[in-house]
Structures are given as structure tokens and as C-alpha cells.
Symmetry: C3
Subunit: 183 residues, 3 copies
């Protein structure tokens, strides 16, 4: 019924440039400067990420068990927090605005494969998380998704499409629940 | 369209009393008595939790990779089991009845934020899990939820509302599937 | 309304034969040969799994943070990849075909309990994952499920029923989204 996959071609593909491969090797060691740091050392972890190419604003709080795959593909605005065991898988660029909250165990997944091609080429669609938004515990943000300003992606919600500003979404797949208003 | 968040106020808020802060620091070290204990040492782990203020019944089985954020906010009945990599995030009190089973990687999340307030105050709605219930692998129990006696929350189900006794729920959000009857 | 559970009987049940218990104890130590190996040592990790009874094909890529509970209940075809932090919980046999991709944090769960019986006996329904299929990041495959050849179970999808060959499913519970065709 179908052609067959060519996994050998998939593995031989050059998904990352030579400089990026060098960075990855450095980061595989350097990430321990981040992961082993004591919990209150938020400024230190922002500094470590910046040393590996991330653009991190002021007063940003990364928790030590959060994980960033490729710091050089990460942009974070002022006063944002990234909680425990958050996974930022970012072959594509992940941009998080200011005053955003990414709660524990959330997963931002900025990579996928073109499954129509026999060699399953790696795709790197960027993710954008708006200012003042809240990605709740265990939520999942899929490749290419834009979460609007002030939006809330509920606990365990799975956002595979864009989320409108100042709305609350929930469920798998995530659907509109209500508007959000600040008092 | 909206006022803006005040993350500085959020961070300056006193979410925990001084004695609780002292307990948290002690537990950040003491939890290793729990996490590093050999798998068969169930009585030891119950003892460790009790030393940090938990009320744990008899014949309770906590697996070493399960994680309790605040033992002093935990009550567990006799003959209950808490499986591998279960996460009990309990700024609010989590009460688990007797003969309940919490399967691997389930997440009981007794904390949230009031997202209508600019400083996102921490809320601590309690969770109650009934006797003889089963929270299946990877399931999520949201803040303020009561799971009735004998109820089953299916694998990966996301319970954000109360679950009726002796019913089975599944999906995200979790919905009624059928009644449960013991033979 | 109901009889009550007999957790003592549940714990006294003989779920595993003596030889299997011996294997489990050996594997609890031997798994570190797998988990602590450097990322590029794919052939080594296949060898470790084979030493503990798994049938692993050629050119298979297991990442070091993936986890197999019972290697002797695992069969994997050629050119298949099992990504980071994948959990293969396999009291029942898990069979994965050739050229399949199991992405990071997916969970194959081949065990459950008969919740109609007071002693909650352990059940071990096998899982079968077809050739050329793709189990995406964070997806969940439930006990007894067959995923057909070339099928795609989307990110965070929860498959509790069989998945037809060359189809794409998503959501919780997972539903048909579209057909898959290779170009």
C-alpha cells in the first residue's frame, strides 16, 4: 500500500550544523552547572543559560530540575518563571514573553518529523508563548504553536493549535473554556 | 484591555509560615532518607514520612521514587499503595483513604493560582481520595477534587471535577464511563 | 453497596515465577549498565537488553534515559528507535516492529488490574506496535492495544483501543484524525 521508510537516510541526515554540534557537546557537560545548582540560585542559572547563547531577561526564575535542550534557541522575557521538571525541547526557537509562568512538568515541544517523507526529516517549527500567559502543570505545547498574551493553558491541556490572547483553554486537544479577566 | 500582572508582588507574598519554611528546608535534606531507601523498605518510608508530620496508616506501601512535597499535609489510610514516580504536590492537604491504589506516575496537584488577581496568589485547595479507589497510571487529580469511595480514575485521565463513588472515569477532561462493581 | 477489597490477598499473590524474580533482582542492578552508558553507545545498550532476555533487531537505537521494566518481555525489530525517558512497563510482552519510532517520554503500559475482583489480580495484556509506526512524544499506549503498521499516535495521545494501520490518531481518548500516506 505504501512506500517504506528509509530510517538509514533519516539517521544520516545533517540536522545540526557543525557549530551547533559543538555547542551540544559543550552543553551536555555544561548543563550540570545548571542542574546541580541550589534552588535559590536563580540568577546563576540565567547566567549559565546566557553563556550557552540564550537571551534571558531580568528577574527570571528557572528551577534547577527544569530542562532546556538547546539554550541557543531560547528567548525569555523579564519576570518569567519556569518550574520544576519543565521540558523545553527546542530544535526550533522557543520564545517566552515577560511575566509568563510555566508550571511544573509542562512540556514545550518545538520539533517534529515530516511523516509523509520516507526519511522522516526533522522539522523545527518555533513556539511562541505570550507575555503574562500561564502554562499550567503538565500542559503540552506542540510544535509551531503560538500562545497569545495573557492566555492560560490549563493543567494537562494539550495545545496543538494557537491559543487566543486572554482566553483559558483545557483538555486534549485543548479547547476554549472561557475568557480571562484581571481584576 | 487588561491590567497587568505584578510578579514582584507574587514573589514577595508569604505563602508559607516560618515553621513551615523550616520544615521545608529540613525535608529538602530528609527526603533522601526516603528516596535512597531500598524498594522493599516500605515500613521505613512510612516512618520517615511520619517523622516529617504525615499521618500514615498501617501496611502502607510508598515506592522510593514517589515524591511528596509537604509530608505534613498528607494523610493516608491503612493498606494503601503509592507507586513509582507518583507526584503528590500538596500545598493543600491531600487525604488518601484506606485500601486505595495510586499507580505509577499519577499526579495529585493540590495547588493553583488565582489568575484573576494581578499578583497570582497561591491557592491551596485540598484533595480527597476515597477508600478503595484506584488512581491509575499517569492520571491527574486537580486542586479541590474529591474522588469518591471505590472510584477508578483511568490511565492518563484528568479529573478536574469530583468523581462519584464506585464509578469509572476516563479521558481529558475525565468523564463517566461506567459503574464499578466488585464480584 | 459493595464487597470490600482484600489488599492483603493482592500483596500475597504470586505474580512472578521464581526465575522471573531472580531476573528482576539481577536487572535492578544490571540496568545501570544501560542507564549510565554514553548516549552514542546504541549497540551496547541493545547488547545489555539481549543479555537480559530481550530479542532486539539490528540498528536499534535505545537512548540511555529510556526505561524497560522487564527486558525478557521485549521484542524489537530492526531500525527501530526508542527515545529519551520512554517508559516500557511490560509485565505483558511488548512487541515493537521494524522501523518504528517511539519518541521521548512515550509510555507503553502492558499491565493492569482486574478491578472487579476484591484482590485486584495483576493482568498482563500484551502490546503490539507495528512496523513503521510512530508513537509521538508523551503518547500513552494502554494494555492490550495493537498499533497497526505505519500508524501514528500523536503527541500526548492516549490509545486505549487498537489503532488502524496507516492512520493518524490524537486526543485522550485517541480518535482517528486522518490517513497517512508516504510520498
Amino acid at each position: 500500500m505504501n512506500n517504506t521508510l528509509d530510517i538509514n537516510a533519516n539517521r544520516r541526515a545533517t540536522n545540526y550544523s557543525r557549530p551547533e554540534m559543538a555547542r551540544r557537546i559543550l552543553w551536555s557537560a555544561g548543563q550540570w552547572l545548571f542542574r546541580l545548582s541550589p534552588r535559590p540560585c536563580f540568577a546563576w542559572r540565567s547566567l549559565v543559560l546566557r553563556c550557552f547563547g540564550a537571551r534571558i531577561g531580568r528577574h527570571v526564575h528557572f528551577y534547577p530540575s527544569s530542562r532546556v535542550f538547546f539554550p541557543w534557541n531560547l528567548i525569555v522575557g523579564d519576570w518569567t518563571a519556569v518550574g520544576e521538571e519543565v521540558l523545553i525541547y527546542n530544535p526550533g526557537v522557543v520564545t517566552i514573553g515577560a511575566k509568563a509562568t510555566i508550571s511544573h512538568r509542562a512540556h514545550l515541544c518545538a520539533g517534529t518529523h515530516d511523516y509523509r517523507q520516507p526519511h522522516l526529516p526533522l522539522l523545527k517549527p518555533p513556539i511562541s508563548i505570550g507575555d503574562q500567559s500561564w502554562i499550567c502543570a503538565d500542559a503540552f505545547i506542540g510544535p509551531g504553536v503560538t500562545v497569545g498574551e495573557g492566555a492560560i493553558v490549563g493543567a494537562r491541556a494539550v495545545a496543538v493549535g494557537d491559543v487566543e490572547p486572554w482566553t483559558v483553554v483545557a483538555g486534549n486537544p485543548a479547547c476554549f473554556v472561557k475568557s480571562r479577566k484581571l481584576e
